[in-house]
C-alpha cells in the first residue's frame, strides 16, 4: 500500500511516498540515490546492506520502509562530517581492511553498531559480533584490527 513515510536520514529529515512493504535497501539505492548501501543477497545472509536504525545495526534488505517512520537512519554516506572521516573509516584505510570494498560499507556500519553498544569490546566480542558479515576477499583479521583501533580513538573522544 502506498504511504508517506517520514524519517531522519543521515541527520536530515526525509519523506518518501511509496509501497510501505518495499525493503529499505531499494528505497535508499533507487528512490533516494544513496548507493553506498550494497545489495549482496537480499536474504539477510551477507550483511552488505547493513545500516544503523536508531543506533542499531540492521540489514536493510529485509527491513520494510514503513518501519523506519519516525526513526533515525544512518548509512555509510552519513558517517563522515564534511571532509573529516569517522574513526572507523580512517581505521579501515589504515589497516587495509578493504579489498574490493563491496562489503566495506556494511562492515563499517555493523562495527559502528557494535561500538555504540559496547565501546570497549574484546577481540573475541568483535569477532563474535562481525561473524555474520561476509567478506569474500578475506580481510577479516584486518577488519578486527581496524575496529580495535577505531574503538580506542572513539573512546578518547576524537570522533
Amino acid at each position: 500500500m502506498e504511504q508517506t513515510i517520514r524519517f531522519k536520514l543521515n541527520n536530515r529529515a526525509v519523506s518518501v511516498t511509496t509501497d510501505g512493504e518495499r525493503p529499505l535497501l531499494w528505497v535508499l539505492r533507487a528512490d533516494l540515490g544513496l548507493t553506498g548501501t550494497k545489495y549482496g543477497c537480499g536474504r539477510n545472509q551477507c550483511g552488505a546492506c547493513t545500516v544503523l536504525i536508531d543506533k542499531q545495526a540492521v540489514r536493510s534488505c529485509i527491513y520494510p520502509i514503513k518501519n523506519v517512520a519516525g526513526k533515525e537512519v544512518v548509512t555509510i554516506e552519513g558517517l563522515a562530517s564534511g571532509d573529516r572521516l569517522h574513526p572507523l573509516q580512517k581505521a579501515f584505510m589504515k589497516h587495509g581492511a578493504v579489498q574490493c570494498g563491496f562489503c566495506t560499507p556494511g562492515m563499517i556500519l555493523k562495527s559502528y553498531g557494535l561500538l555504540l553498544q559496547n565501546p570497549r569490546p574484546s577481540r573475541e566480542q568483535i569477532v563474535e559480533s562481525m561473524e555474520p558479515s561476509l567478506c569474500r576477499c578475506g580481510t577479516y583479521s584486518r577488519i578486527v584490527d581496524a575496529i580495535q583501533t577505531a574503538a580506542v580513538e572513539m573512546k578518547e573522544g576524537r570522533a
Binding site: 528512490d31 540515490g33 548507493t35 536474504r43 554516506e77 563491496f102 566495506t104 569474500r136
Partner: protein, 544 residues
C-alpha cells in the same frame, strides 16, 4: 577543439613524415577520437608509450591500463611502477582502468598476471617516455642530453638543478610523436624509490565513504532496471509463457525475443516483483547426475590423458616398496560468490553502445555484446567501474549481454544486477574433481613411486614436488568450459587446478605418513630435495 580536421584524412605517420624530421609533433586526443587511439590492437600490448600514459599541462599523469581493480590493489601498484620509470611523483598518477576506448587492449585481469605481464609493458612505456622527454628538454634548454636528469616530473641540468623544464610544459597533455629506436633499460630493483613501498590506494577513501561506484551504482538519465526470466534448470526449454501478471505491475514493461524474456521498471525491486508475475512452463531435461553421483560420473568420463610428467619406471618403484597406497580424492563444485553479484548497465544507441560492467574481461566483452545487438566491437565501449570481487568468476559477461539486449529493445539505458540465486546458478564453478593416487615407500620411508591422475580439474600444480625416482602425472580432460563433462559451466577459481591438486597430493602425503606411523613433517622433509621447497614447507609448518 578547432575545426581543422586535416590530419584526420591521412594516416598519422604519413602526416608526420610530411612534416619532416627533427620536429616533436604533439597531437591532441581529440584529433583522433576514441576508437582511433594509437595502436588499438587486439592480442598484444602496444609499442607506443602514448597508449599507456598522458601528461597534462599541469604535470598530472594519467595511466591507462586494460587491467581492472578487483580489490587486489593494482590501482596503486601499477601507478607505482609508472611513477618509478617515468620519474614523476606517485601522487601525480591517476589510473584509468578497463575502459576499452581509452586503455590498451588486455586479455583480462586474472591469474595474478597484472604485475608480472602488464607491469613490464607499462614500465617500458614509462622509461621510453622519460627518455623522450629528456630529449625534448635538451632541445628546449639548449643543452646536451648527457648533462640532464629527470626527477619529480621535470628535467633539470645536473650541474644547476634550478635550470629545469617540467614534463607538463613539454607534453601539454598531448600525444608525443617521437619514439626511440633503442628502448631504454628498466631500472634495477636496487634503484627503486617508489616501488616496494606501501603507498595509499586511491580507491580506499571512496570505498570507506560509500562514494565508490560499482556497476550497480551507475545511474544514467532515463535508466530502468531489468530482470530476466530464468529457467528452473540448466538446459530447460521454454514451452509457454504468460506475461499478463507482469504487466499488471504499474510502470512495468515486458520484452520478449524468442525465449529471452525481460521486465524493465523504474525501481529494481518492482522489476523483480513484476518478473515474479510471469507464468512460464518449461520442458526440463532429466538430471543425469546429482551431488553424490557426480564423482562416479567424472571418473567414468572418457577423454584424452595428457602426460604432465614422467620419469623412471613405476613397476620398478612398486617392487622396491614395502608399503603401498592407493586412494582417490574428491573436491566439490565451488562458487565464486563475490559479494557484488554480476552487474551491468547498458546504453545502446543506433550508432554505438556504452556498457558499464563489473568484469574481469572488458576486452572481449565488447565483441560479445556487439554480436548480441548487431554492432561491431569498436562501437561498443566497455567501461569498468570498481569491481566487487571476481576471483575468476567475473570473466563471463552474460548480465551485460542481457542489459544490452533489453536496452536495445527499450530504447533507454538498462541496469541488470543478478539476484544472488542467479549468481550462484550461472556461475562458472571451480570444477568438481577426482584425483587418483597410487604410491609406495621403502624401508627407509622414502617414496619409491608416485602415480598421479587428475580428472577434469586441470593440471596446474599437479607436478610432484617430492624427490621420487619413479613417477607419472596424468591429467584428463579440460577443467574449463561446459556444460560437457561437467553438467554446467566451470572455470577459473582462485588458483585454478591448484586447490584440487595440492589438496590431493598433500592429503595423500599425510595419509602415507599416518599409515607408516611417521610425523607428517619429518616424512615430508625426508622426501624433499629441492632446497627452496624445503624452506617453503618449513615456513608453512611454522605458520600453521
Amino acid at each position: 577543439m578547432d575545426n581543422n580536421r586535416g590530419p584526420l584524412t591521412m594516416d598519422r605517420r604519413e602526416f608526420v613524415k610530411l612534416l619532416g624530421p627533427g620536429l616533436y609533433v604533439l597531437f591532441s586526443m581529440d584529433d583522433f577520437g576514441w576508437a582511433q587511439q594509437p595502436e588499438r590492437r587486439v592480442g598484444s600490448y602496444p609499442e607506443d608509450f602514448n597508449a599507456y600514459l598522458r601528461i597534462a599541462g599541469d604535470g598530472s599523469v594519467t595511466c591507462y591500463s586494460g587491467k581492472v581493480e578487483l580489490g587486489q590493489g593494482i590501482i596503486a601498484a601499477l601507478a607505482q611502477m609508472l611513477a618509478e620509470e617515468l620519474e614523476v611523483p606517485f601522487e601525480s598518477v591517476t589510473m584509468v582502468m578497463g575502459d576499452t576506448f581509452l586503455c590498451p587492449w588486455d586479455a583480462g585481469t586474472n591469474g595474478s598476471r597484472s604485475i608480472k605481464y602488464f607491469g613490464p609493458a607499462l614500465r617500458a612505456a614509462g622509461a621510453e617516455a622519460r627518455e623522450v622527454l629528456n630529449e625534448m628538454a635538451a632541445g628546449h634548454l639548449g643543452l646536451p642530453k648527457e648533462r640532464l636528469a629527470a626527477k619529480d616530473g621535470a628535467v633539470f641540468e645536473k650541474a644547476n638543478p634550478a635550470n629545469k623544464v617540467t614534463y607538463g610544459f613539454l607534453a601539454k597533455g598531448k600525444i608525443i610523436e617521437k619514439h626511440l629506436e633503442k628502448k631504454p633499460p628498466l631500472k634495477p630493483a636496487a634503484a627503486f624509490a617508489v616501488c616496494g613501498k606501501s603507498l595509499p590506494r586511491a580507491d580506499f577513501q571512496d570505498k570507506v565513504t560509500g562514494k565508490a561506484r560499482f556497476a550497480g551504482d551507475v545511474r544514467l538519465p532515463k535508466m530502468l532496471y531489468g530482470k530476466v526470466l530464468r529457467p528452473p534448470a540448466h538446459g530447460a526449454q521454454l514451452k509457454t509463457v504468460d506475461l499478463s501478471g507482469a504487466k499488471q505491475v504499474r510502470d512495468a514493461v515486458v520484452f520478449q525475443d524468442g525465449d529471452f524474456v525481460g521486465v524493465v521498471h523504474p525501481l529494481p525491486d518492482m522489476a523483480e516483483k513484476a518478473l515474479a508475475g510471469i507464468k512460464a512452463e518449461y520442458e526440463i531435461p532429466a538430471a543425469v547426475v546429482d551431488d553424490k553421483s557426480i564423482y562416479t560420473h567424472i571418473a567414468n568420463m572418457a577423454a584424452k590423458d595428457n602426460t604432465v610428467e614422467q620419469k623412471g619406471d613405476l613397476a620398478q618403484g612398486e617392487k622396491q616398496a614395502v608399503l603401498k597406497f592407493e586412494e582417490s580424492y574428491f573436491t566439490p563444485y565451488v562458487a565464486h560468490a563475490a559479494t557484488e553479484t554480476h552487474s551491468a548497465v547498458a546504453d545502446v544507441r543506433a550508432d554505438g553502445a556504452t556498457v558499464y560492467i563489473g568484469t574481469q574481461r572488458p576486452f572481449g566483452a565488447d565483441g560479445e555484446i556487439g554480436k548480441a545487438i548487431g554492432l561491431p566491437s569498436n562501437q561498443v565501449r566497455v567501461i569498468t567501474p570498481y569491481v566487487g570481487g571476481g576471483y575468476g568468476g567475473k570473466s563471463q559477461v552474460g548480465q551485460a549481454v542481457q542489459a544490452a539486449r533489453l536496452s536495445k529493445m527499450a530504447g533507454v539505458p538498462i541496469q541488470v544486477v543478478w539476484p544472488r540465486g542467479e549468481d550462484f546458478f550461472y556461475d562458472t564453478f571451480q570444477p568438481a574433481a577426482v584425483v587418483k593416487i597410487r604410491s609406495g615407500m621403502d624401508e627407509a620411508n622414502r617414496i619409491t613411486y608416485w602415480d598421479y591422475h587428475v580428472l577434469f580439474a586441470g593440471d596446474r600444480s599437479s607436478q610432484n614436488i617430492y624427490h621420487v625416482p619413479n613417477l607419472r602425472t596424468l591429467s584428463r580432460g579440460s577443467s574449463f568450459g561446459g556444460p560437457g563433462p561437467h553438467p554446467f559451466g566451470t572455470g577459473a577459481w582462485r588458483g585454478p587446478g591448484s586447490n584440487t591438486n595440492i589438496f590431493s597430493r598433500e592429503s595423500h602425503i599425510d595419509l602415507m605418513a599416518a599409515k607408516a606411523g611417521l610425523d607428517p613433517m619429518e616424512f615430508r622433509l625426508k622426501n624433499l630435495s629441492d632446497e627452496r621447497m624445503i624452506r617453503v614447507v618449513k615456513a608453512a609448518a611454522d605458520k600453521f
